[in-house]
């Protein structure tokens, strides 16, 4: 088991390296001249050349990469071209909000999906299954940003229960911030529970067919014990992988929800930076998000043996 953990952790290292190379290359590939962006439209060529030297753009690519990597490892990802802020603290402060929403939503969605999927599989092809599966399929067809808009329309505009725009940072207290977070979290929870429920139902249906479930029943165990102790751990394993993928997918796709609810999160930061050609911020966001995603997948792989001991062999 320890061997599995070590091997898996070590395997993450080359992946991380390749991620940094890809991020570097991607941003370099974005058309446009950073020096031009910094100095503005009418800048004289001499000033542009000087700025390029200052930014290190006239060096060979590998040297630039190495320099950038060294700086990144020491915690310096440059400064925003637009605001001048240091990139790292900027990303971290935005990430706080994004992480809160994403983690809460995924947690809630996982609980809902696991319960719903198990029950649907247990009563397969019955009325409950029909209701749960149809709802899940319907949810899959609804884009998260539209769901957010509709929820906003209903709860914010029509019913006036919740605010439509605005945001209070968490640092100023939970209860104040909560009102602004309920709808985005609800949106994401509903959105993601669709695909997770289907996955859970599908793997639970597979497991329920296996002999060891019949054997557990043949021992005289109650249905509840069979479902929770025998079916759940085995059916959850593939869903766990999907939860990891979902977290990753949300890290990328959170921008849409942040746009709908005008929340200053990490997703919106990246999109704004792309539109403004703010290369350091784009680079920083890409790197940061990709690293988190690698970390999440690593965590999922490490948790997997808890549900399926065969992989650690």
């Amino acid at each position: 088991m320890l061997g599995y953990i070590v091997r898996r952790a070590l395997l993450a290292v080359p992946t991380l390296l390749i991620v940094t190379i890809l991020v570097f290359l991607l941003v370099r590939a974005i058309p446009g001249d950073p020096a031009q962006v910094l100095l503005g439209e009418g800048a004289p060529p001499a000033a542009l050349a000087a700025m390029r030297t200052q930014l290190g753009l006239d060096q060979p690519l590998i040297a630039q990469y190495w320099l950038w990597l060294r700086q990144a490892v020491s915690g310096d990802l440059g400064h925003s071209i637009v605001t001048g802020e240091a990139v790292v603290p900027l990303i971290l402060s935005r990430f706080q909000l994004t992480a809160t929403i994403v983690l809460t939503a995924v947690l809630l969605a996982t609980v809902i999906a696991t319960t719903g999927g198990l029950i649907a599989a247990w009563r397969r092809n019955g009325h409950i299954d029909l209701a749960i599966s149809s709802t899940a399929s319907l949810i899959l067809a609804v884009p998260s940003f539209w769901l957010g808009l509709i929820l906003l329309l209903v709860f914010g505009v029509q019913l006036r229960w919740l605010p439509v725009v605005g945001y209070v940072p968490l640092s100023e207290g939970w209860s104040a911030a909560l009102a602004f977070l309920i709808l985005p979290i609800a949106t994401l929870t509903i959105s993601e529970s669709g695909v997770l429920t289907r996955m859970m139902r599908s793997s639970a249906v597979d497991v329920l067919r296996l002999d060891y479930v019949t054997h557990a029943r043949a021992k005289g165990l109650s249905e509840r014990a069979v479902l929770t102790q025998h079916v759940f751990p085995n059916a959850f394993a593939p869903t766990l992988t999907l939860v990891g993928l979902t977290l990753g997918h949300l890290l990328g796709g959170i921008a849409v929800v942040e746009t709908v609810f005008t929340l200053p999160g990490l997703g919106r930061l990246m999109v704004d930076a792309i539109l403004a050609r703010d290369y350091p911020v784009v680079q920083g966001c890409l790197l940061f998000t990709a690293l988190i995603y690698v970390g999440v997948n690593l965590a999922v792989d490490l948790l997997y043996p808890l549900f399926d001991p065969r992989v650690a062999a």
Binding site: R124, S137, V271
Partner: protein, 269 residues
Amino acid sequence: MRRGVGAWLGSAILVMLAGVLLLGAFWTPYDPLAIDLGHVLAAPDARHWFGTDEFGRDVASRAMLGARISLTIAFETTCLAIVLGSALGVLSGFVRGWLDRIIMTIADAVLAFPAMLLALALVAVFGGSGQAIVLALGIAYLPATVRVVRAAVLSIREKEYVEAARVAGDGPLRIMLRHVLPNALGPIVILSTSLFGWVILYESALSFLGVGVPPPAPTWGNMLSSARPYLEIASWLSLAPGLCIVITLLGVNLAGDALRDHFDPGERR
């Protein structure tokens, strides 16, 4: 019976969609790009079934044009990813060896990024036109496609009929084309329908964010984006394009499920 209903509904939706597309190629109620500042933000009525937007443009016409644009992008992207991904997947899964390792390493590296993130970055690289989105999303989905096809090929490879072909004297190219690829069609078709749906979703998301298809060309995504500020006074602007997306995706998903049931008859779900 339940399965039958799903397939029926899916097919019906897709047929209706095809009808709208065909119609929209020749006729829309109004010119989707025609600005009419005298009828800005009009609520839905007999003349404008879905109302008008902030420039007085007819929402229904824009939605029809948007359908053409979005679905064309989805179709082209799916073709790109499937054709290229299947070729690479079959080669990788069947030939194995160093080729497989290289392809999988690159695929895994690209997969280390969340798809949306990658799409955003690639759109930044390629620009914001329809072609750029096809390229960006195609590349973003390529590794996943290669993976799925490769997995199917790996399992087909172990089947005894592949070995029988070797015993009969067939060479590797012949085996790949005659035995492996045809039997991998099932998973490939299923993947295609899933991909199609995802591209529609992602393209609308990118357009919603403002980095997708640029105005004034309408896609359902950017229509929703411009509808956002008018949520309180013109809520219908947010409903129509969204419903279009939902209905289309529903049709695609249901059709995809029906296809999956067809190709996997052993599953009694």
